[in-house]
């Protein structure tokens, strides 16, 4: 298969996986009925229930999983490029925990505020801290950045626990359920929020994607090539953070997707960000829909999808670390 036909396949994969996922679910609906619901041909007493399941439960859930998967992957690909470090993503850098703290604080203490505001603020704070900590000695080394991410992540996770401890039981229940990382609560309103927020963050990333190649050469070299380092780096990091924060605000913490997908795409189409960014978006959507479909159909319970991605992602990280160890420890 040629490189371009592989790329085409990746672009089509969300539609293929999403289409198949519509036919799967805990409530058995005949495939012929699903087709008739989609084309608006199913009528009758029982039809309303079936329609509700397909159009108000399965479809928004698949779309939300797709949008969040797209977002986390493009965010991961961007952060890997900016920090010239193939082992980071919003989760590793602590952005997800920062956003989670923002969400928990909002649910617990500021119920009048949209969760996305504090999620974004928390994410920005986390990434700034990780960046500042890793930067203590000039250029950021790979290992220092990952360690800073671990520190930031555990710091914010501890603060989330503190919030859980302080809030009333009802809010606690909400926070715990939502933190597990799941699309079980998906509805059309969440789909709209995710589409707008993640869309806003993704526009600059797509528009400026070629420049990530120059930024990935390191700070000094990017400047020598004519990059306005501070401005462009800020746009990339802020956009990637916005996307990750919105993702956390609608579906909790789902790790590893943003790490894995860009690698899988690089294996197929090479590291040039011009193609890596859009392909990561498509691939991320497909992988997340697939993971969520496995999560909701593997057992009779609706498993949080974060469990599935972590079970696949952690060994994947180990594999990457082994493969790149010589470079990684040299910094």
């Amino acid at each position: 298969m040629t490189k371009s036909s592989k790329s085409t396949l990746i672009y089509l994969s969300p539609l293929i996986v999403g289409g198949i996922a519509l036919f799967m679910g805990a409530y058995a609906i005949a495939p012929s009925d699903v087709l008739r619901i989609l084309t608006g041909q199913l009528a009758g007493e029982e039809a309303e229930t079936l329609k509700a399941i397909v159009l108000s439960i399965r479809l928004p859930r698949i779309l939300l999983a797709g949008i969040v998967g797209l977002g986390l992957s493009v965010s991961g690909a961007t952060l890997q490029g900016i920090f010239r470090n193939p082992l980071v993503d919003p989760y590793i850098l602590g952005i997800s925990s920062g956003a989670a703290l923002g969400c928990a604080v909002t649910i617990g203490f500021l119920p009048w505020l949209p969760v996305q505001v504090m999620a974004f603020a928390g994410g920005l704070l986390a990434v700034s801290l990780a960046f500042a900590m890793a930067r203590t000695q000039g250029e950021i080394t790979r290992l220092a950045l990952i360690l800073s991410g671990v520190i930031v992540s555990s710091f914010f996770t501890a603060l989330v626990s503190a919030v859980k401890f302080l809030v009333d039981p009802h809010a606690l229940q909400n926070i715990v359920y939502w933190l597990m990382g799941s699309f079980a609560l998906a509805d059309w309103q969440m789909v709209t929020i995710a589409a707008i927020g993640i869309g806003l963050g993704a526009i600059p990333l797509v528009a400026m994607r070629w420049r990530l190649n120059a930024l990935s050469m390191g700070e000094e070299e990017a400047r020598l090539l004519g990059v306005n380092l501070r401005r462009e780096r800020f746009i990339f990091i802020a956009s990637a953070t916005l996307i990750a924060a919105i993702a956390v605000s609608v579906s909790g913490i789902i790790g590893w997707i943003g790490l894995m997908v860009p690698h899988l795409v690089r294996m197929v189409s090479g590291p040039n960000h011009k193609s890596l960014i859009p392909l990561s978006m498509a691939g991320g959507a497909a992988v997340m829909i697939l993971s969520d479909t496995i999560a909701r159909d593997l057992t009779a319970f609706d498993l949080p999808v974060g469990i599935i991605t972590a079970v696949i992602g952690a060994p994947f990280f180990f594999y990457l670390m082994k493969r790149q160890s010589s470079q990684l420890w040299r910094g």
Binding site: M208, W210, G218, R223, L224, N272
Partner: protein
């Protein structure tokens, strides 16, 4: 062209003056080499001239404009810098690496167009490594990688080219290959070239002009064969050196070694 006057440099939170009243100018169309022992301030001077490090005082002028008044994009349209060999984080193809030279000309929200591709391919042709264009940049030899960086600088399409110790990681054959290529291209395109070098013989062989740097001061500055002499180098490196002439060429070597 580039002219430097009264340049001083001191690191923040340090009193040691790294560069002290450095003055020199580049001659158009000539290759100038900065030569000096380790710790002479060569690297610092290079970083200042590239606009990476802010100078403490003094002035660096490009034509009539002060270097510090230029944005990084403006500077990148005047000066192309060839960095020392480096390990890129991702395995970009050689052609993609050369295309990076177009960064200052491609719009913020754009990708390289057909003109950019033409210039990049022509630059690869110029340095003689067109056959490598689809190879991953991480899997070519050090000499080829240095040539890729030269091609990237050519694609940048600037009147000035600065090279930071372009031979430091290369074997003898590749040192010659890179410097001969640079020499040929600068003649073809009428470029003005500045480079730092370690090896006085390479400097003597390839440079038109030389700036000798000692403890942050310009010790000597002028045509290469007048400046790179046994007396000057013996003092600068604290060695006893002599010039050996053979077949019309001059070579610097340790006294008694030839």
């Amino acid at each position: 062209m580039l002219s430097v006057t009264g340049l001083n440099f001191t690191h923040k939170s340090s009193t040691r003056q790294i560069l002290n009243q450095v003055c020199f100018a580049l001659e158009p169309g000539q290759l100038t080499v900065i030569l000096g022992p380790n710790g002479s301030g060569k690297t610092t001077l290079f970083k200042c001239l590239c606009g990476l490090w802010p100078t403490s005082s003094g002035s660096i002028k490009l034509d009539s404009r002060e270097l510090t008044s230029l944005s990084s994009a403006e500077l990148a349209r005047i000066v192309a810098v060839v960095p020392q060999d480096h390990e890129p984080p991702f395995a970009y193809s050689v052609l993609d690496a050369v295309l990076l030279g177009r960064t200052a000309r491609v719009g913020l929200f754009a990708s390289p167009g057909s003109l950019d591709y033409e210039l990049a391919e022509a630059a690869l042709e110029d340095v003689g490594i067109s056959h490598l264009k689809d190879k991953p940049y991480t899997q070519i030899s050090g000499g080829e990688r240095q040539l890729t960086l030269v091609a990237r600088a050519l694609a940048q399409d600037t009147p000035l080219m600065f090279l930071d110790e372009p031979t430091s990681h290369l074997d003898y054959r590749n040192q010659t290959r890179v410097l001969t290529t640079v020499r040929r291209i600068m003649a073809e395109k009428g470029l003005t070239v500045l480079m730092t070098l370690h090896d006085p013989n390479l400097a003597l062989h390839y440079a038109d002009r030389a700036v000798l740097l000692e403890q942050g001061r310009v010790y000597c500055n002028g045509p290469a064969h007048e400046v790179i002499t046994a007396e000057n180098l013996s003092r600068m490196y604290d060695l006893s050196l002599e010039v050996v002439r053979h077949d019309g060429g001059s070579f610097i070597c340790l006294k008694g070694a030839a």
